[in-house]
């Protein structure tokens, strides 16, 4: 029986499904990081991905976004099979990711980091012939994005090295939100943040969603997940164990599945949301 047969409301590939992955596998030597994992992200939703340390959450989104090559499995974006060979391919397809290791260059300033890999050149011959960067424009835009997120920094030309861990995280989050046109994926974006900054990131997630983009949020914080998620993907031992509806399931149910106290298949179907449940 296929997932679609169980949950006809959320079939595998319709206009509703933005990002879809099936049968992903990845082994590092003897360590299985992804064990036949499926993934589905629908339009206009915030999908939380939760799981214990080492469950394979980061590996899953890396495999989907081209940051690591899965041994097996297929990925679809809006119904089209995609082969992201590197993160750039995914970015060009409108998928922006905040990786857990943040992917910022400490020696570069905030503006340069925001525009890293897609720098803007000056108009005219100074940008054409001389390939000159339009630093003023990039700084202004970077400052706007930071402000939009409510992140305070002394100067947009500050090197990222001089920022606090939370501020660095904010830079990465602002960058992803600013550039995405299809999907935003955030791997523990609030891990180093204080209460106020966490609130701002959650606000931002909802704003991105309001813009019409689905968001994948990997998090260890249950309150946070229940606050913003429309569905919760529970990852365990490299696989999707269940997808639950936070409106129906309790934190206790979710933790039980996450820790293996309860198998995904033992969950009452009323708590489930979509395929893989």
């Amino acid at each position: 029986m296929t997932d679609a047969a169980v949950h006809p409301s959320v079939p595998e590939t319709t206009d509703e499904v933005v990002l879809y992955a099936k049968g992903l596998k990845k082994k590092y030597g003897h360590v299985t990081a992804i064990a036949d994992a499926d993934f589905q992200l629908c339009a206009n939703e915030v999908l939380a991905v939760i799981g214990d340390n080492g469950a394979g959450k980061s590996s899953l989104i890396k495999a989907i976004t081209g940051a690591l090559a899965p041994d097996e499995g297929t990925v679809f974006l809006k119904g089209q099979r995609v082969h992201f060979k590197n993160p750039l391919d995914a970015r060009l397809a409108g998928i922006e990711t905040v990786y857990q290791e943040l992917a910022v260059c400490p020696e570069l300033d905030i503006a340069a980091n925001m525009f890293l890999g897609r720098e803007r050149r000056r108009p005219g011959w100074r940008g054409g012939l001389l390939r000159g960067l339009d630093k003023a424009a990039m700084r202004k835009e970077a400052a706007d994005h930071m402000e939009e997120l409510g992140i305070r920094v002394q100067s947009i030309t500050q090197r990222v090295e001089t920022l606090s861990g939370g501020q660095r995280q904010a830079v990465a989050v602002a960058r992803a939100a600013a550039w995405a046109t299809n999907v935003v994926i955030m791997d523990e974006p609030t891990a180093a943040l204080g209460v106020r900054e966490t609130g701002q990131v959650l606000d931002l997630i909802l704003r991105v969603k309001a813009r019409g983009l689905p968001v994948v949020l990997i998090s260890h914080s249950m309150p946070e997940v229940f606050q913003v998620a429309d569905r919760i993907h529970i990852h365990r031992l490299g696989r999707r164990e269940a997808v639950v509806d936070p409106a129906m399931a309790s934190m206790r149910d979710v933790v039980a599945v996450m820790t293996g106290a309860l198998a995904g298949s033992e969950l009452p179907s009323a708590l489930k949301a979509g395929p893989g449940s």
């Binding site: 260059c105 570069l108 890999g117 720098e119 090295e161």
Partner: protein, 323 residues
């Protein structure tokens, strides 16, 4: 976005750059030698010091690019010497322009070989360039039977000629060196390529996750450095009009010294060619000044060596403070 605030920012930015320290050291050295010797402070001596700086200074530009990517180039002197040999050999047959072009090509190819091995096969630059250093040095000797080739005066030695302004003799070599420095300061600071060079040296993983083609950037850096070494070959023939396969044997370490004293971090991602220009001048001023002061040249080497350690120490301290 008010202008005064911008320029204050820029001033503060400049004072906190790596350039400020080396520049201060250079100025102190100049002041001290001017005060303690009669012969240091005069146009002829300054002209001479600039002349003495150009070859190592130019090699150090290429070295800077590579060190910014957290690499190191032990072969740059050997690549340059190979360049002089290729140029001189073709010039002997009367093909001066062809010789210059083939010299460029040879240096670029040698850089490409290093870059290829470093970028594609991910071998450590130290080992790779140690290998090519040995291979290229032997190749150059084989090409000339370990003999020096004469270099005909004219286009090939033009870099040693120049003009006078206000009592200073400025050679075309010095002009070329300064122009290269300015050009690479622009390329590193104001173009996407430069940003990517810093990013790759700083954090290759972050660069990759941001869609930068790390191996392409690395490869380009080694090729561009090779071309810079070719210019160095031309400058070297302007200094001494022969192509000697066993010349410039310590040029690799001398250029690294200049880069490090100029404030570029051996860990990559931090520094630049303006610092390297200053670093090169510091070494030459120190040698020249200590000579004028009648101090044994072995003490000059001790001073230079101590400066290298100080420079690396400063870099470490900056890093520890920031992280």
């Amino acid at each position: 976005m008010t202008d005064p605030k911008g320029s204050v920012d820029r001033l503060r930015g400049f004072l906190t750059t790596q350039v400020a320290g080396p520049l201060a050291a250079l100025l102190v050295a100049i002041v001290v030698f001017s005060a303690t010797t009669d012969t240091f402070l005069n146009p002829a001596n300054f002209s001479l010091m600039l002349q003495q700086s150009v070859v190592i200074g130019t090699l150090a530009i290429g070295q800077t690019l590579i060190i910014l990517t957290a690499g190191i180039d032990l072969a740059n002197g050997a690549i340059m010497v190979l360049g002089t040999i290729v140029i001189a050999q073709f010039a002997l047959d009367g093909n001066i322009v062809l010789g210059l072009m083939l010299g460029m090509l040879a240096c670029a190819a040698a850089g490409a070989l290093n870059g290829m091995i470093v970028a594609k096969w991910k071998l450590p630059p130290f080992i790779v360039t140690l290998g090519t250093l040995t291979v290229l040095t032997a190749t150059a000797r084989l090409m000339t039977d370990s003999q020096s080739l004469p270099v005909e005066r004219g286009l090939l030695t033009v870099m040693g000629q120049g003009f006078s302004v206000a009592g200073f003799t400025v050679s075309w070599g010095v002009v070329t060196w300064l122009a290269l420095t300015a050009g690479f300061a622009y390329a590193l600071g104001r173009t996407a390529w430069g940003t990517h060079v810093y990013a790759v040296g700083d954090s290759p993983n972050a660069a990759k996750l941001n869609g930068i083609k790390v191996d392409r950037v690395l490869f380009s850096v080694y090729v561009v450095a090779g071309l810079v070494y070719a210019v160095g070959a031309w400058l070297a023939m302007g200094r001494t009009p022969i192509a000697d396969p066993s010349a410039y044997q310590t040029a690799n370490l001398d250029s690294i010294t200049a880069v490090v004293i100029g404030g570029t971090s051996l860990f990559g991602g931090r520094g630049g060619v303006v610092g390297t220009l200053i670093g090169t001048l510091i070494v030459v001023v120190l040698q020249n000044g200590l000579t004028q002061a009648g101090i044994n040249s072995l003490y000059q080497q001790i001073a230079t060596g101590a400066l290298v350690v100080v420079a690396v120490l400063v870099d470490q301290i900056i890093r520890r403070k920031d992280r």
